[in-house]
Amino acid sequence: MAESISRSLRDGCMEGEHAPALTIEDSLASSLGSSVFDHFLANLVSQIAAGKSQARGLVLVAFNRSPAFYLELLRRKGVDAQHVDKRVRILDCYSDPLGWKKRVPPLKTAQNLPVKANVACFSDARDTNKLMASILDLGKEFVGQDKSRFAVAIDLVSSLLRYTSLPIVAGLVNKLRSNDQTSCIVWLIHSDLHEQRVSAALAYVSTMVASIQPIAQCTDEQTSQQNSVWLGKNSDKAKLHVRLKRRNGRVKLLAEELHLDQVGVKFTAVGDQNSNAAKSLLPKVQFNLQLSEQERVERAKVVLPYEHQGNGEEIQIYDGRRSLSDSISISQPSVASPVISDTQVAPGIGEIHYVRDSDDEQPDSDEDPDDDLDI
């Protein structure tokens, strides 16, 4: 499923259609959204560098993490530095989104780090028109005479929504999608930082919505220690619910599980891990802890004591001391006698063979242990 999302981003858009857009949304209950965003971003850049995607370059709008983080991320994912320099442009909205650094004296002791050629600082996050123009300017570097396209990634729309309103952000996204030079767009949003309508509005302008949900659900009654366990479980595992919108209007719902490890995010089909885990829970002993099919069938046929069978017949009170065949043949209740295994059982009726330890003891004839029962 994650593969199909990557393919969709790689293939880009058809002539006359808007660019495909992927919304990745998470929440504090399962905050692996950034890792999932990194996964799809690195995947897309790899495809671009290999020349396999429609996009010839990527413009990354970085609000949440520094440009240095993303350059390091791509290096660790194995994308050649030359390709990164050539195919990736980062619009740095992280370091100075409001222009404060231009208004205060810079640090004299700041180490003069070389300014990366593919990083452009943006200091006016409240002006979305300027932001749009900056994105298109950076993208134009990839667009040659052959009307190539470029991909756009916004690492955190939630940050943009702090500076401006939802209609303006939705308008920006729509303009990017409808731009002739845009191949595809990816963005991340933290759904619990906004009202429901924000997530809904962005979902409407997306062709794919990948929603990250916790693996284990939390209840209000959990103690703090249980909360710790719950937090631990959800820290590196989650469920990914994807909604894909087809061109014909059909909406496809898919689900996968994801977990975070040293390499990155891995996706697995739902249920694979559960069945393997269940198998591994059974202890390895010399006796059989499970029932065979025959035993399951026999168990299902057993008539439970004091249970109405629902077939309109008179309720048969099953005295656990006698075998079922005895109780059916005897019309009047009789004195209880020790249960003896009986091989002459009516066909189609299951039976549990029970041999009591006290069978060798003769009960007191005057004493009926069931005398105190009031049925």
Binding site: Y94, D96, P105, T109
Partner: protein, 265 residues
Amino acid sequence: MNPSFSSPTTNLLDEALGIGCTGSVPWRIALVQDCVEASGAFLLHHLLKRSLSAEAAGAVVFLGLAQPFSHYDRVLRKMGCNLSLQRNKNKLHFIDLLDLEFLVAGGTDQNAIEDGFMNLYNRILRFIEANNLMHNNGGWIRIIIDDISLLEIAAQGSSSHTFDFLQYCATLTSELDCSLLILNHGDIYSSEEDQCLLSHLDYLSDVVIKAETLSTGIAVDVHGQLTIINKRALGELGWSSSKVYNFQFKLKENAVEFFYPGTKF
């Protein structure tokens, strides 16, 4: 013997936060979230003391909005740390913000509040510059804010401007060898809109420390419990595994004891 010159002994809190013997930490931003019944101020005191210990190779910028300098000085003296001495040695830069009008000195409009925060950011930058010049760009800087809710009040309730300021402080943690420690109260936000700042801080932080009371009520030997969510338990970039710690604490006259539930005798 001055306790502040003795080697700091590690405890459960130091282990959970990964505090090294030089006071350096592997995380960039830590959020302490407390409540009325379980104040988290002791955590700031403990981490302040660890940051100013003799082995510590850095300096502290302390934004004091909740208490005057004399209060922290008195508390830390009992813990064996002389804040006045550290301030004179330029290892501690205490910014007194008790007067919550500091942001609106130039007016109460939104631009004035933003300018006020920008000036505060500038003051922090100037201290970092002075510290770097003195120590030849060596050593880390820890910025401690006590507390965010008062900063919001100073900003006339504007959580947006408050978070903008925190965002700029956060950029210092990635550009320079800085870490940021913030105290916030988790039980003063009622509406969903107000909860937004709490959630923003949670997303921003690498470590979240929650101080709570025991679910069983008040106890003599146990004053509360801590839940520490360390989102970057291993490494800075790339492989980051979340680790969750849960243990209890008892506040003594001049120290804090940390122990696992059921191990206090």
